[in-house]
């Protein structure tokens, strides 16, 4: 087996059994894990406490207990989280941290029903003024205080400073990976790519950085082969379950870039270095952009996607709309108009973690790939003339 394949399998192992990873971390270090709800959490704070920050992005599970706690028109990530919560899956965590960027998450923080402390917070939603940085810094300060109480430890500025540097380096490495994966679709298929991204939520970032760096090194040295299939950019909250990614793979569709909240949006912006690490993190929040959950009347997400398509030579965009996610659903109509105006192919699919059958998605993706291939053939024949 090639070294690249070995490494990719390693990421897959981490991404597919987080429970085991958390247990091992506790046994090895004597420290616990802190659950971080989607979408953005200043993970650097629990990281600085020596904890393992774990991303809580739901998963494939049958909803048995959730319907008694959450109406059916809540998004499927929150349905899964509710289900797993009521099953007791999160009971071994030291704390969970919940942000409040949408109405569903506001409610989720209030509906938490387990003994594990729930630390809710609210980012500034008006990122235009300087007072927002001060507010967010103090909000992070409050997270630190509540987390210190939950972990019975203190979290020093120096420790957070170190974590900020570790996270910045990790972001850098992840951005490089996204570019390298795009130039080697023959070596990194859509599922592999997703697993590399997802595994970051279950590892200390310094360790994840080491692995991804190794992978990047191998990819950089590998020969670039021409890709016969189509290339697309994916956008949305997340692209799961794996059965949907499987459809991409089967249809020879390469994911050459993403604007997913669970993937590249996490790595888009670094925290500026400064004397006060919480201020650095607050300023990072203020400079984040291009996400449906970050208010932006300019809709910079659209131009960002357009340049990503151009940079990576993609044939089109697949917008993965999380069912019942209003922030994403609001972005679709103007995005559709924008892409039409700019001659960029856009396919919308609906994401549901509990989906039992991908047949409808298969049909849509397959026909989209056929359209893109036909377009490319047409372009090639025109070029020959």
């Amino acid at each position: 087996m090639s070294q690249i394949r070995e490494l990719l399998d390693c990421f897959k192992k981490v991404a597919t059994c987080p429970g085991k990873i958390v247990r091992e971390y506790r046994e090895k270090t004597g420290k616990g894990a802190v659950g971080c709800f989607p979408v953005y959490t200043p993970e650097e704070i629990p990281h600085a406490a020596g904890m393992l920050p774990v991303g809580m992005w739901g998963g494939e599970t049958t909803l048995r207990l959730a319907p008694s706690a959450l109406p059916s028109f809540a998004c499927s990530i929150m349905q899964s989280i509710t289900e797993l919560q009521l099953q007791g899956v999160y009971d071994s965590l030291v704390a969970v941290i919940v942000s409040s960027p949408c109405d569903t998450l506001k409610a989720m923080g209030q509906k938490w029903r387990r003994q594990v402390p729930c630390i809710q917070f609210a980012h500034s939603r008006n990122t235009k003024i300087d007072a927002a940085a001060d507010y967010t810094r103090r909000e992070y300060q409050s997270i630190r205080a509540r987390l210190e109480a939950a972990c019975a430890t203190t979290i020093s500025d120096e420790a957070i400073q170190t974590s900020v540097r570790i996270y910045n380096e990790h972001r850098q490495v992840m951005r490089e990976f996204s570019g390298l994966a795009a130039s080697h679709p023959d070596l990194v298929n859509p599922i592999d790519r997703h697993m590399v991204m997802k595994s970051a939520f279950f590892m200390r970032k310094e360790n994840h950085t080491v692995l991804v760096k190794a992978l990047n090194g191998l990819l950089a040295k590998a020969a670039k082969k021409p890709w016969e299939g189509v290339k697309i950019i994916v956008s949305g909250i997340m692209l799961e379950p794996v059965s949907v990614l499987e459809v991409f793979k089967q249809n020879q569709i390469a994911v050459v870039g993403d604007d997913l909240a669970q993937e590249s949006r996490q790595y888009r912006v670094d925290a500026p270095e400064g004397a006060d690490p919480l201020d650095s993190l607050a300023r990072q929040w203020l400079s984040m952009y291009g996400c449906s959950l970050i208010p932006d009347p300019e809709k910079s997400r659209f131009s960002l996607l357009r340049s990503l398509v151009e940079q990576r030579g993609a044939d089109g965009i697949v917008l993965c709309v999380m069912k019942f996610c209003e922030p994403e659903e609001f972005d679709y109509p103007p995005m559709k108009a924008y892409m039409e105006k700019n001659g960029i192919n856009l396919l919308q699919i609906e994401i549901d973690q509990q989906i039992q059958s991908v047949e409808q998605i298969r049909t849509r993706i397959q026909s989209f790939a056929e359209i893109l291939r036909a377009q490319r053939a047409r372009r090639a024949s025109i070029a020959q003339l």
Partner: protein, 264 residues
């Protein structure tokens, strides 16, 4: 002295005649609901069964989806109260009533006297209702009556979504296309109904005994799936589809009595 209870559902009509507020002397169900000749037929057949005419009936009450359209009586009681009453009359120890009808799935929590304490019903969508099972039976080409027997032959229930009928229908079609065994699909369908209903039940809370009424209670597969989800045995009333009409006949008896007491 005879009283009549009529339960006019979306897909079927039921009538029960009660002697002296205690003893059922007739019970009929017709597979035609509100807006059809079903209600009239059910009442006529019940009268025939009891060898009575309409003039023998001292009081009557209508319940069910079509209760306001019933011309035989001007007295209506909701199906929640009627099902609770009917079940409680037959199973006085019942504290939770599960009723799965054509349009609605309801769970009714009873107090120590057997009176309605709190109830919850499904969201507007038909998942978890009799209609849902009907749609599935059509897709699978297996009659509703046979579904219980198929359920028993399942070794590995298939995963069927419990959120939406339209969605579940396409899932079942793809399961069929993928060659899944019909017993497993049916067990999966029953489980999805049970999950939906159990979600409602856990919001009102439950203690023993749990009883079930409504036509779907005759499907042993659903009952077994519900028992598995709830982790408790379920008692089924005799002729569960008639529980609502029986409750209505009991309310009619109350009405007769209170009228006679006040001399009206």
């Amino acid at each position: 002295m005879y009283t009549l209870g009529i339960d006019i559902g979306s897909a079927s009509s039921k009538a029960v005649i009660l002697a002296d507020g205690l003893r059922p002397v007739a019970g009929q169900a017709i597979q035609a609901g509100t807006g059809s000749s079903g209600p009239k037929q059910a009442v006529e057949r019940a009268l025939d069964e009891a060898k009575l005419t309409l003039s023998d009936i001292a009081a009557s009450v209508a319940t069910g989806y079509g209760r306001f359209t019933c011309e035989l009586t001007d007295r209506q009681v909701s199906e929640i109260s009627c099902h609770a009453r009917g079940v409680s009359h037959q199973l006085p120890s019942a504290r939770l009533v599960i009723d799965i009808g054509g349009q609605d799935a309801k769970v009714i929590r009873l107090d120590a006297q057997g009176a309605v304490w709190q109830f919850l019903m499904n969201e507007k969508c038909a998942a978890g209702t009799g209609r849902f099972l009907e749609v599935m039976s059509r897709v699978l080409e297996i009659s509703l009556r046979e579904m219980g027997a198929y359920h028993d032959r399942s070794s590995r229930p298939a995963a069927v979504s419990s959120t939406c009928t339209v969605f579940a229908e396409s899932e079942v079609i793809s399961l069929l296309a993928a060659g899944a065994a019909k017993p497993d699909i049916i067990a999966g369908i029953h489980r999805s109904v049970a999950v939906k209903v159990c979600g409602l039940a856990s919001r009102v809370g439950w203690e023993d005994d749990i009883a079930m009424s409504g036509g779907v209670a005759r499907n042993q597969g659903v009952v077994k799936a519900l028992e598995a989800e709830l982790g408790r045995p379920i008692k089924i009333t005799p002729e569960p589809q008639l529980a609502g009409a029986l409750g209505a006949a009991l309310y009619a008896f109350d009405q007769y009595q209170s009228k006679n007491k006040t001399g009206g």
